[in-house]
């Protein structure tokens, strides 16, 4: 019936925002903004032009950053 709709998964969402600027919040409350270059099944994330925010304040910039998936709380496109 609505088979295609049922096939949409969280992974489809993640694939749809590849290459976009994203906001990533970690369990610790630290936030990252950057270009989402890729992810894998563990939700490990590679970001480009990464900005690190602690308590909403910019703390660091990284050209590339690998974030280990277990630390991720959520990801959203911005």
């Amino acid at each position: 019936m609505s088979e295609p709709a049922n096939k949409r998964t969280p992974t489809d969402f993640l694939n749809s925002i590849l290459g976009q600027r994203v906001f990533v919040r970690l369990n610790s409350g630290i936030d990252y903004k950057g270009l989402l270059s890729c992810l894998d099944g563990y939700m490990n994330i590679a970001l480009e032009q990464t900005e690190e925010y602690v308590d909403g304040e910019l703390r660091n910039r990284y050209g590339d950053a690998f974030i280990r998936g277990n630390n991720v709380l959520y990801i959203s496109a911005i």
């Binding site: 970690l26 610790s28 630290i30 890729c38 894998d40 590679a46 990284y62 590339d64 690998f66 280990r68």
Partner: protein, 98 residues
């Protein structure tokens, strides 16, 4: 040809780490610890062997009398270090800007 192209592109996040082998990297760990060192080896858990490591530990000192907090960081160097992957939050390779 395909091999050399694949060796240089980032298709999965761990490729970023692979491209940093033998380079100095920055590692952010749980417990307000940071490492800077040369990446000798890693695996899929992000267990890593780092050489010439500088570890920075950041602590918050709370002064109860005047209700203030101050950050204090301690540095130490380690010639060779095995890092267990589950403590890793972030890995940043050296800038690969052309």
């Amino acid at each position: 040809m395909a091999d050399t192209a694949a060796a240089l592109t980032v298709e999965e996040p761990l490729d970023l780490v692979r491209l940093s082998l033998d380079e100095r990297i920055y590692v952010k760990l749980r417990g307000d610890r940071e490492l800077r060192g040369r990446l000798h080896a890693y695996d899929q858990h992000l267990n890593m062997v780092l050489g010439e490591v500088e570890e920075t530990i950041t602590m918050v000192d709370v002064n109860d009398e005047v209700q203030t907090q101050s950050l204090r960081s301690v540095n130490r160097t380690v010639p060779m270090l095995f890092v267990r992957g589950d403590g890793v939050i972030l890995v940043s390779p050296p800038s690969r800007a052309a």
